[in-house]
Amino acid sequence: MTLTVPALRARAARRRRHRPLSVRLAAAFLLVVAGTGLLAPLLAPHSPDTTSLVNALAPPGTPGHWLGTDSTGRDVLTRVMYGARLSLLAPLGVVLLSAALGITTGLVAARAGGRVDAVLSRCMDIVFAFPSLLLAMIAVAVFGPGLAAPVCALAVSYAPFLGRIVRSVALQEGARPYMEAYRVMGFGELWVTLRHLLPNVAPVLIAQGTLSFGYALVDLASLSYLGLGVRPPDADWGSMISQAQSAILQGAPWSGIVPGLAVLLTVVSVNVIGEHVGGSISGRGKEET
């Protein structure tokens, strides 16, 4: 069947219709957040670090400060926009790093088998048993504040999630006859693994990766809230919530609610998309044939 252009369009349209409204809303929201983060210097009405005690704790709706100001008079909208940068980039770093670690561990464990598999699997179990936040806090205690240490620590503690999935899918997929067929064609173990096995593992990876992104965002926000992540005055949603504590007691909750909502909606959006990707993978092929 050679697809003509109208047929291709029809198929693309059919696919679009398969996407529920929630997924489209989630994607749109994430795009907006990422876009404003990226273009913050152009879009933001104020500088993120300019304090103005005269305007402190201005309520939302104040002209010039549509989402209000915090206890030092910084514009909440501006800081949420700037905060999107670190709040999205850092979890992305966690996901990419943990994916690299998890894929390597999972693939090596599945392909080597035997003792190597046993050792790697037990290592993953041990990391699994370690609370990820605790690990991140230890990393900060050892390596000092800043984002690098907690990002690496979280990546390590998330790696077993991916590693286990990669291992089990790779075991399953590795037993399929085509793996053997490529070996018969004279391709080495590494080539077969990377070129033929990994792409077949990838869809599951993408689904799990999206979910980890949400976890990482929340964990990093928690760390920032504890004052262990982003160093002030850099904006980050978690640290914004943390700094809003006193304002909340003074009856001005908006400087905490806005970044809180940003965290909540972003995580929900990412998870909705992750669920959708995971779901369409389990039904893979049904719509294609």
């Binding site: 490529y182 070996r183 064609m185 004279g186 391709f187 080495g188 092929g285 294609e288």
Partner: protein, 328 residues
């Protein structure tokens, strides 16, 4: 066992191959004294029941032994002593000089890659430039009877029927112009009508490329129709080697006879099918002496004394003490 004048190098020469696998209970024999020869451009059948060691023998030609297996004897594929060869030599052998076609084409191809990627992968790895490899692949697709070969290169395996996909696999197997092609039940997973076409394509290409073909199957009629010579395997041993012409009409070994009686035919008299009593044995559980002894209607005391030597019988070579008792 068999003495033949070999003027040219054989595509495959398996001589006295024995295979044992180490288990917790000790060494388990899988193959014993297997001798198979495939000349260049020749088609040789390897038939037998499931578990008789057909596939194992074919895979040994590639040096693909099961984990923990030990081989004795001599296997020469496309001039390479496979059992003694190192990893790089084996890899080179598999890439360029020996290919294999599998039973289920859909299972033997990476479902995510395009057909073109599959076909050119081997050539590209052997150092052929991209354009040249693509040109060769399109040419081969044309030869195996795929319509619009250039378009087929861009499609995925699931867009083809089983028969078409098996043709593509054959094209892929022949892409590197191998000396030897191992076909492991290449038509078992296909419809009967597609089966004939695929076998036709396989034969035509094999002839025109001068490739030696080892055709592993349990379909006796198909083997008789396709092959020049046929080896019959039972319980890890070769029990008969026959010209395909004499194979169907004058089986020499009681097992061959029993196999033929057990396979249905739409032609000729519709006699009742006779299943072979007992169940197929592996070499490890076969009785002493002749492996077929416990299921053979002709067996006698002396069959238990030792493994019968292979000897000429008519146009065949047979490992049986009393092949003459087999009715022609």
């Amino acid at each position: 066992m068999l003495v033949r004048e070999t003027t040219t190098r054989d595509a495959l020469a398996v001589e006295g191959l024995g295979l044992t696998i180490g288990t917790r209970e000790g060494a388990l024999p899988l193959l014993a004294d297997v001798t198979v020869r495939v000349g260049r451009g020749e088609t040789v059948g390897l038939v037998g029941e499931s578990g008789s060691g057909k596939t194992l023998t074919a895979r040994t030609a590639l040096g693909m032994l099961p984990r923990g297996a030990r081989a004795t004897g001599r296997v020469t594929a496309a001039g390479l002593d496979v059992l003694a060869a190192g990893r790089t030599d084996l890899r080179d052998l598999r890439r360029t000089r020996v290919s294999m076609v599998f039973q289920d084409p859909r299972a033997a191809i990476n479902p995510l890659r395009r057909v073109g990627d599959h076909l050119t992968e081997g050539l590209r790895a052997a150092g052929t430039p991209r354009r040249e490899a693509a040109r060769r692949a399109v040419d081969l697709l044309d030869q195996v009877g795929i319509d619009d070969p250039a378009g087929a290169m861009r499609r995925h395996p699931h867009q083809f029927s089983g028969g078409m996909l098996q043709r593509i696999m054959i094209a892929g197997a022949l892409a590197t112009e191998p000396e030897l092609l191992l076909a492991d039940e290449p038509t078992t997973a296909l419809d009967v009508t597609t089966q004939a076409e695929v076998v036709g394509v396989l034969r035509a290409l094999q002839r025109s490329h001068g490739t030696g073909l080892l055709f592993v199957t349990h379909d006796l009629d198909l083997a008789a129709a396709v092959c020049d010579r046929i080896y019959v395997m039972y319980a890890g041993r070769i029990v008969e080697e026959a010209d395909s012409a004499s194979f169907a009409v004058a089986p020499a070994h009681p097992y061959t006879r029993a196999l033929l009686d057990a396979s249905p035919s739409v032609h000729g008299d519709q006699g009742p099918l006779r299943a072979i009593g007992g169940r197929p044995r592996s070499l490890a559980e076969a009785p002493s002496g002749c492996s077929f002894r416990d299921r053979c209607p002709r067996a006698d005391h002396d069959c238990a004394l030792g493994v019968p030597a292979t000897r000429p019988h008519g146009t065949s070579h047979v490992a049986c003490l009393r092949p003459e008792q087999v009715k022609p």
